[in-house]
């Protein structure tokens, strides 16, 4: 059974060579049915702690559903998921996960600072205000801390959303198209924050449509096609044009 499992699994173990061998995510034959439709089929993979993994695929390939599963926002219909070496156990698992969603997930009538502070306080972060201000500063939006989110541009709100996701110091960041709405300068700020997060041992699983960016940031790329794991390869072994062609062929 174990041999079969390993055979079907696609191990993302490039980081093992660097001495980081802890498995952050282990998925075994994950499946998800939504409204009678099989959205994810038989996904098996492992992600080592301290890696950045890019999830790519055409629209409707199942990227967002996979990220929701990893964030424990929904449960798999079949298969088994382990986070931090054990099955997800509600609040304890969620305390170690940060989520950047497809939408900003912010309250538009609260200020940027209030939004980030609320998450910090719900997580029991000491000195929540100072910590929230630090995170907003790191994302380059500290000067907008007192502005209501409804008055922020999409890009600024997105950076506040990323500050909110990281304010409690998670071990795993799940990011669904985190660069949505960001200009070139803001993308650079977010990429730097992600790199710092990874350097401190954090793991990132992110989706997106920008192939070059996914290859540049992610050490590994998971390619989803029609809910199946079509390939999993180290980024340095992937040709951007080939990857784009494979994704584009399905769109």
């Amino acid at each position: 059974m174990r041999a079969m499992l390993l055979e079907s699994s696609i191990r993302l173990n490039t980081h093992a060579a660097a001495g980081v061998t802890d498995v952050c995510i282990r998925a075994e034959r994950l499946g998800k049915v939504i409204d009678g439709r099989m959205v994810l089929k038989d996904l098996s993979f492992e992600v080592a702690r301290g890696m950045i993994v890019s999830v790519l695929g055409a629209n409707g390939a199942g990227k967002s559903t996979l990220l929701k599963l990893l964030a424990t926002l929904t449960s798999p219909t079949s298969g088994r998921l382990e986070l931090f070496g054990r099955p997800p156990d509600g609040a304890r698992s969620r305390a170690r996960i940060g989520l950047v969603g497809h939408e900003t997930m912010l309250y538009r009538d609260l200020t940027a600072l209030e939004n980030v502070m609320l998450t910090a306080r719900l997580h029991g972060v000491p000195e929540a205000r100072a910590r929230a201000l630090t995170m907003l500063d790191r994302l380059g939006v500290a000067e907008r801390a007192g502005d209501a989110v409804r008055n922020l541009s999409r890009g600024t709100a997105q950076r506040v959303a990323i500050a909110r996701a990281l304010v409690h110091g998670p071990d795993l960041l799940i990011a669904d198209e985190p660069f949505t709405g960001l200009d070139v300068g803001s993308c650079g700020v977010v990429e730097r924050v992600f790199s710092e997060f990874r350097a401190r041992g954090g793991t990132i699983v992110m989706s997106g449509h920008d192939v070059e960016q996914a290859l540049r940031l992610g050490e590994h790329v998971l390619l989803l096609m029609e809910g199946r794991l079509a390939s999993s390869e180290a980024s340095h072994r992937i040709e951007a044009s080939n990857l784009r062609k494979r994704i584009g062929g399905r769109e």
Partner: protein, 224 residues
């Protein structure tokens, strides 16, 4: 203690948003007052003085005003996917339920405080003989109504169902509460009666059952 702190944090968040936007409360108060005034005019005032008609009219205002509260307090979570952010917090989802329940109760209590004097003027309720009995009946009834309303507002927010469905589901479920409450209020208005223990028992039992069930079930119905 941690759960209590989280409940208060979320309640504070909801009340702060309401204080800034005044969307829910303003609408609920206008609707409540309109219902009482329109029905008073329709029933030509004196015909509905005291008794069942008057208490029924108050309940119509509570039911529709409450349904609007449930929708508005949950709508805060559906904008920009805020609900998913909330569900990622390390807390039992019952915490979200209890904080929403309290936010709804604050709004509904405000509604009751505003429309009751309007009812006194238009229908000649005599609250002076048993004000505490009136407050107890209305308070206990609103707790039960808010218990089911908060649960189903979560269900509607998590599904593709339309908001209008909320009233269709919640009104019939509230029937035992409304019947027991109107009987008790009729006695209070007409005779200044002390509370009938059996009717009050129905309301308290309704509260306990639906608070417990809703708190447990909310975990299953709420999804981003």
């Amino acid at each position: 203690m941690i759960a209590l702190r989280q409940i208060l944090l979320l309640l504070g968040k909801d009340l702060r948003i309401e204080a800034r936007t005044r969307q829910a409360l303003a609408l609920v108060l206008v609707l409540g007052i309109l219902i009482v005034v329109v029905l008073a005019l329709g029933l030509q005032g004196g015909n509905a003085r005291g008794g069942l008609s008057a208490t029924a009219i108050l309940w119509v205002a509570y039911l529709f005003g409450g349904a609007m509260c449930f929708e508005k307090t949950m709508a805060v979570e559906t904008h920009d996917g805020a609900l998913a952010g909330l569900l990622m917090a390390p807390m039992d989802r019952g915490v979200i339920y209890l904080s929403k329940l309290l936010a709804n109760l604050v709004l509904m209590a405000t509604l009751a405080i505003v429309i009751t004097p309007v009812g006194v003027v238009l229908f000649g309720f005599d609250l002076s003989r048993a004000p505490l009995a009136f407050a107890s009946v209305v308070g206990a009834s609103l707790i039960g109504y808010a218990a089911i309303g908060t649960l189903f507002s979560g269900l509607v927010a998590s599904s593709r169902l339309s908001g209008g469905l909320l009233a269709v589901v919640v009104f019939p479920l509230s029937l035992p509460l409304v019947i027991a409450s109107t009987q008790l209020l009729k006695g209070v208005f007409e005779h200044g009666n002390a509370l009938d223990a059996s009717a009050m028992g129905v309301i308290v039992a309704f509260d306990v059952i639906f608070l417990t069930v809703s708190w447990i079930v909310f975990e299953l119905v709420i999804e981003p």
